[in-house]
Amino acid sequence: MSPRMAKAMINGLLIGGAVIALFPLLWMLSVSFMQPGEASSLPPPLLPSHATLNNYRELFVHAGMGTYLLNSLLVSGAITLLSLSFNLMAGYAFAKLRFAGRERLFQALIGALVIPAQVAMLPLFLLLKYIGLVNSYAGVIVPGMATVFGIFLVRQYARGIPDELMEAARIDGAGEWRIFLQIVMPLLKPIMVTLAIFSFLAAWNDFMWPLIVLTGQEHYTLPIGLASLAREHSQDSELMMAGSVVTVLPVLVLFLAMQRYYLEGLLLGSVKG
């Protein structure tokens, strides 16, 4: 094959792949601006004939989408903040502080990764029921406050910090908390950004656990709200596409803005794992 043909083929395949990857997203955006019923005609329209924001209005005024959006922001924000702090502290301790049984404990945590999270869900539901956290924000947040993956990521990164930095501060009489807050944290900033994006995206997109623990609409996050709308309004494709846009847009924008950190974290968490 001549180099010119090879070049045309490779770029052609890439364009084809990008079209397949992006088409459903663009179609969702376009249909979300269509009049009710417009998408259900033949041939399937690609663009709205008269663009309208009615679907979005309907969602926020009548379908409670605003509440779901706020719930999602609150729950994902809280999980991100809490898990970030807890994972940072633990990851730093595993990387830089000496204590008996450190390696064995870390190995045990990594070993626990083989257990799928769903095994814990049934007793976790009962536990939260007895302490009164079923159908509350806390019920969604509490199990996500620390992750083995996050601890692992921070440990990998923190191992690169030279011990001399901390030793010098200790000789100067700085306490461990001050060393952590003033010397270590600034050095961990890149991994903090990466981990924050990961946690936020995972919390935002999470489905099974919120579906189990949230029993009333007032606490629904976007994916749960959208799934329940989809069961009620399965014929209203325009309305459902607007709902999908509201659900997906925040994370898509976050990813596009912070892509570099996200992809770096993905590689740090898997290739070296």
Partner: protein, 294 residues
Amino acid sequence: MNKQRMAWLFLAPALIVLGLFFLLPVIAALALSLTDYDIYALANIHNLRFVALSNYWLLLQRPLFWSALGHTVYFVAVGVPLSMGASLGAAMLLNSPLARMKPFFRTALFAPVVTTVVAMAVIWRYLFNTKYGIANYVLGHLGVHPIDWLGDPHWAMPTIILFAVWKNFGYNMIIFLAGLQAIPIDLYEAARIDGASALRQFRHITLPMLGPTLLMVSILTVSGYFQLFAEPYVMTEGGPLQSTTSVLYLMYEEGFKWWNLGSASAVAFLLFLIMFAVTAMMLRLSRRSEGADA
């Protein structure tokens, strides 16, 4: 000594969360699976009885459990190779020196990964609608009769597999791309001088050099695909004729629709054991083939 105590203080919040909300429930799940915990026990704990392995025994005799396992294995066995093939293909295209606008293509191909499964599954329901869906419209022009993608028991699972491949291939693509970029370019040049074809270069350089990455990625993908749940929940509700009921879907219905928490825990544990056995087998097979090569 003081240093030790500081270390434990740093660890305490994370370890308490993981212990209380993961480790403890996992142990409790094992205990729960040996009881007949149901809606009566939920109302009054005195109705709880120890039933030893009877939940497991009854499950193994239920056709629904076996069909759910069958559907899940189908999803894994077809979905994982397709996903990994798509990931590797896309990574090789992106890695080619002839490719243009690489950052754009990388972002575009990765975009489905960061989206919400539920929202995308809702979109696919409309794209694969029998009457108005674009999939059938395009196929119609190629002379294919309309397919009832999500309503026909033979097509529902393939449609879900197609969706999963589209949604997930970008993730492994990034990992493969990093692996490909780590292969020294001289290897390919030497092979080209020796007159090796592109296919032979792929078989004798690319695949062996990617070996460890391929193994890790396939194990992670297999474990992920065994946990099929949201896709059938949104796209088919486990139907038609329960043809997309996965093991986790069965666990969810058993536990949170019928409140048979004892038997649902047994489902969860069986899934865990099966996943563990499959990934252990993959590790062993790969070690053996490595040994055979050497």
